[in-house]
Symmetry: D2
Subunit: 143 residues, 4 copies
């Protein structure tokens, strides 16, 4: 879409996320590293606790990061609306996610009055080896 | 569908799950409490660490339990095939999940040679107040 | 969920559908044949034009019928709100759909102020051979 | 992903599609207008029969075109494998689709031995006003 202008910087998104999840450990939240019109890039530091059998990052961890990335994307574009909630998330697991920091590129497909629809792509090895792709819909509080 | 006969009992499914996730804490895995043709019922004990702001069970926890329930359902019907892997998961968040043990009713929509498609419904308060519903597809190893 | 009481009978739903799609040919709309709390059953008469190569009913026809069935389900439970619109539809194609009248069983998973989430199962041969399953979300007009 | 090289040109994809759907009317199939590594662009000529009430292109038409675009994308990259079949399709309807030729940009998210996962974006007015986005999974014949 005609990419909407962000309202927050990466630092402001990170500060909001910490307010939203005050009890998360310091390294337990993905960090927004870039904000652009209609897009954010988020990185979650790797920790061995993320692995499942087979030495791959587990599905629930990947889904959680995709959800966080979409939340960061929404906050960046609507501003301080912590009450946005996920209404649906579809995750396609494309290949095993090798251990490593998890990078998420999130893109707004639509930002309406009622909801936001986001495309999120995740990788650990390199950006041309996407390990999972998600579609995330957030319901926005009606103002 | 014409419901397929299970190959494993609930106890056998639980034993397999413990083998699949040997490092999970004792109470960190959902427990299969019933197996019937085409269906399983799974319960995951509540712990306060599952909550997100607003005193509701977090989305990633619900998605993880839905995935586990589908895995238990697949194991119950194909037997000892630990290498089945999730290929996609769609979660619809229907209402906030109040704190409490999480119950998952999983049903086989299709069991083919290549994959299994499952419907999973989750609740904490009572079975007539579903908090989330998932469609989970597992890829089966080709034998 | 605690199944909501329908507000319309099957005949009333059919009359509304004809008003919503005045230009559809007489046999071009699915017919609602049963309404119950939280559920409707819909049948679409078979026509050879529905086939794709391989003598199976085409995907777009099945998706259209799933969407219609969810619409009938929503109308039956919210009454005369023709402006409800589909916001998302996930279709799982489970097996080839043999030629024949297409039956759809649609169930409300959630009916909120803003949207309705429906599960729809389709079959042509017999109810224990589901050929496709859909999750359909309708956005409701805010009143 | 590291974009795979296409095996067919746009003309070859169009010829294959006509072989796959020999009974489709001349203007009843989308036309592939561009093929690039990991991508195709497809256009379906507008016809008034596509409209639903409200003078918008109907959901089933959009879903059918998304499915066709994903099929063209798969054919372009795997070659003459007409037996690929859709296993799932998720459509997000983002805004009303105004009357006009329907453009679909389809991108391979993953091309494996068993299946292909595609992202498809549709528009009629202009490329920066996407009206719908789909995730389509095709099952590939095992060779």
């Amino acid at each position: 879409m005609a990419a909407p202008q962000p309202k927050l910087t990466a630092d402001e998104v990170n500060a909001l996320m910490r307010r939203a999840f005050p009890d998360a450990p310091q390294d337990g939240l993905p960090k927004t590293v870039a904000v652009a019109p209609g897009r954010v890039t988020v990185v979650r530091a790797y920790s061995p606790g993320m692995l499942r059998p087979g030495q791959l990052i587990s599905g629930p961890n990947l889904m959680g990061i995709a959800d966080n990335a979409a939340y960061a994307l929404v906050l960046a574009h609507v501003g301080d609306q912590l009450m946005a909630v996920t209404s649906s998330l579809l995750m396609n697991f494309l290949r095993g996610a090798k251990p490593g920091d998890i990078h998420a590129e999130a893109e707004l497909l639509h930002l309406g009055r009622r909801n936001a629809v986001c495309d999120v792509r995740l990788w650990t090895e390199s950006p041309d080896r996407i390990c999972a792709q998600a579609n995330v819909t957030y319901a926005l509080p009606l103002s």
